[in-house]
């Protein structure tokens, strides 16, 4: 049972296309979240809204290591994962509008984005509730001998829940191909990690379940991608679970209800200096891999994509009331 520390490893040089691709992914997420915040203030989006600003490198880096056959189980802070996985922002925004063209037919909202086609199992608003589900998805793959990985994202706060303990033990005991991705942004709502964990080194916990583990700088997309690829390769060869801790930070409040008074402005500013998008841009330019015009193009494309998505959501329609009770139960019997 080994522990890698890949955070410090110097990022490998990458080619132009891949650099564009990663930056594009992170920029799309940032733009989507900015738009969501706007639309929330405009009361187009309601309910809870949890934004991902600052954590983009985690979703982009990890999902880069998955195939279309693999599965994704995420939390209520899942716009980024949904966007990267599903490709289009339109049905995601339509969902937050509550329209029937939304990716969950308007029944789920921001916290419950789903997509069967891309095996995106959503959007779970019960902290740690997704972990046992991921274990079960991987169990099905193992029993049906499908060579797939199930990725499961959760926060540092989830680690204290009993379901974390039960799920890691089950996945290891039964040797199931689950990639546990802990998005450690140091806070569970307003409660800092030091107030929730007797042992703050989360990666080290995997040891007591005999699960291989790695901790990575979650602000460095290349480091995350690299660690995730190593992890998924390990899972694909061993069939065993892997625990990947991504050390990151959320730039915004926990949700739109959060006055964000439990952490200092200075701390937030410090972390913003490590913005995964800005630092990656800079690094790629310094290394001559990307040019200013590349970046302008990306920004333009992304702005257009999100504007079109908003236009799409606006144009979508409200499901008629008579359909309210559809999908409490399935409409077809089982084959």
């Amino acid at each position: 049972m080994k522990t890698q520390r890949t955070g410090k490893r110097k990022a490998p040089v990458i080619n132009h296309t891949h650099a564009l691709h990663l930056l594009h992914g992170m920029s799309r997420i940032r733009r989507l979240e900015e738009k969501c915040a706007e639309l929330y203030s405009a009361t187009k989006i309601r309910g809870f809204l949890h934004l991902y600003d600052g954590e983009e490198a985690v979703a982009v880096g990890v999902l880069e290591a998955l195939t279309g056959e693999d599965a994704v189980v995420a939390t209520y802070r899942e716009h980024a994962h949904a966007l990267i996985r599903m490709g289009s922002a339109g049905t995601i925004l339509a969902e937050m509008y509550g329209k029937q063209e939304g990716c969950s037919r308007g029944r789920g909202g921001s916290m419950h984005l789903f997509d069967e086609k891309t095996r995106f199992y959503g959007g779970n608003a019960i902290v740690a509730g997704g972990l046992p589900i991921a274990v079960g998805l991987a169990l099905a793959d193992k029993m049906l001998q499908r060579p797939r990985v199930t990725s499961c994202f959760f926060g540092d706060g989830a680690v204290a829940e009993g379901e974390f303990h039960e799920s890691l033990n089950l996945a290891s005991l039964w040797q199931l191909p689950v990639l546990f991705v802990c998005e450690n942004n140091l806070y569970a709502m307003g409660t800092a990690l030091k107030y929730t964990q007797a042992v703050e080194d989360l990666a080290s916990k995997a040891a007591s379940y005999a699960v291989d583990t790695a901790a990575v700088d979650g602000m460095d997309v290349l480091a995350v991608e690299n660690a995730a690829k190593k992890a998924t390769e390990a899972i694909r060869t061993s069939g065993k679970p892997f625990f990947l801790e991504c050390r990151t930070y959320r730039f915004r409040a926990h949700s739109m209800y959060d006055p964000d008074l439990y952490r200092s402005k200075a701390e937030i500013e410090e972390w913003k200096k490590r913005c995964p998008i800005a630092t990656f841009k800079q690094k790629m330019i310094d290394q001559g891999i990307l040019s200013d015009s590349d970046i302008d193009t990306i920004d333009r494309d992304v702005a257009r994509e999100i504007d079109e998505a908003v236009a799409f959501a606006e144009a979508c329609t409200w499901e008629p009331l008579e359909d309210l009770t559809r999908f409490v139960h399935s409409e077809r019997r089982m084959s």
Binding site: H112, E166, V328
Partner: protein, 334 residues
């Protein structure tokens, strides 16, 4: 029933449940059983005895004591295309998995706008009467029936114990099967070709014109005993086995009451907020003007279950209490 003719055989409720599981595993390679001690121990009520030897540890899967974890894993496996039968030893321990059952299994299909159905079957023992005291004697099947998105069934007969599982596995959505632990040793006969049964309708087990007893599970046995005694006194009791607690088949009991004009509900759940209250309310709402007397309920007393035998017997509905209550009700004129 006699056991003379070759088409019939005698077996226990326990055997019937086991047969149902065995058949399901044989018929569909995606079906498997998972739970605490289902394998090497043979099931805490010996329901799965022998199945590990027959099907191996993958399909008869012993789990650690992690109710929330393995129920959630069952949900995930169902989402992944399997047909898990998850056994929770007893309903008492299901409270540790209540979040997965109620916040995940019951809502996944709706939250995902119809994309992800969860074809999981969760079996658990329920009921009191074995002097197991407060933490091991609850009857919460009627309580779970409050939750939209799940089906609740409760077999009271050998036939249903044998046949409900397969139908539940055909259901695309979560089905909870509650087996009253007091019934496992009950013997009965079954045709050799007995198979799946519907889980949508209640059944009139005994016809009568004077009063309708609406019940299910272990209370059905007591109600039928009472009906027998009452018949000797000239009181004709119609006895209905609900079979499924969610969704409730109102039609069957409403039709019966339109005929008998009186109804008694017998339910092992604690009285306040039990399924018997829902049934009484529906009778009120639908056939109020047909009633010759108020609907009555015989439920468990509202105490944590005591250990002492004489106390526990006093808490649970009993045949003699059913008899005297019916006598009183039929005496009362509308």
């Amino acid at each position: 029933m006699t056991n003379g003719d070759s088409g019939m055989r005698t077996l226990t409720y326990r055997d019937a449940v086991r047969e149902g599981i065995r058949e399901a595993i044989q018929k569909n390679e995606r079906v498997f059983l998972m739970g605490e001690d289902v394998g090497r121990y043979g099931g805490c009520f010996a329901v799965s005895k022998g199945l590990l030897e027959e099907f191996g540890p993958d399909r008869i899967r012993d789990t650690p004591l992690s109710e929330s974890g393995f129920v959630g894993a069952g949900i995930g496996a169902a989402l992944g295309g399997m047909r898990p039968i998850v056994e929770i030893m007893t309903v008492n321990f299901s409270l540790l998995a209540a979040d997965q059952i109620i916040n995940t299994a019951a809502v996944y299909l709706y939250m995902s706008g119809g994309q992800f159905n969860v074809p999981i079957v969760i079996r658990m023992a329920t009921g009191g009467g074995r002097q197991l005291a407060a933490q091991h004697s609850r009857s919460l099947e009627g309580w779970y029936a409050h939750i939209p998105g799940i089906k609740i069934v409760s077999p009271a007969t050998i036939e249903d114990a044998r046949g409900m599982l397969w139908t539940a596995l055909q259901d695309p959505d979560p089905v909870l099967i509650f087996e009253n632990s007091g019934l496992y040793n009950m013997e009965g006969t079954l045709t050799t070709d007995a198979g799946a049964v519907d889980i949508d309708t209640a059944r009139v087990c005994r016809a009568g014109k004077d009063i309708t007893i609406i019940t299910y599970s272990a209370s059905l046995i007591k109600s039928l005993e009472a009906a027998e005694i009452l018949a000797q006194q000239g009181i004709e009791t119609e006895v209905i086995d609900l079979r499924t607690l969610r969704p409730l088949d109102d039609k069957t009991f409403l039709t019966s009451i339109a005929k008998t004009h009186r109804a008694l509900i017998v339910d092992e759940g604690c009285r306040s907020g039990s399924i018997s209250a829902e049934i009484s309310a529906r009778i009120m709402e639908n056939v109020f003007y047909d009633l010759d007397a108020p609907v009555e309920r015989l439920c468990s007393l509202e105490v944590p279950m005591p250990y002492a035998k004489h106390f526990e017997e006093a808490v649970l509905p009993q045949t003699d209490k059913i008899v005297s209550l019916v006598q009183k009700m039929v005496g009362a004129d509308g």
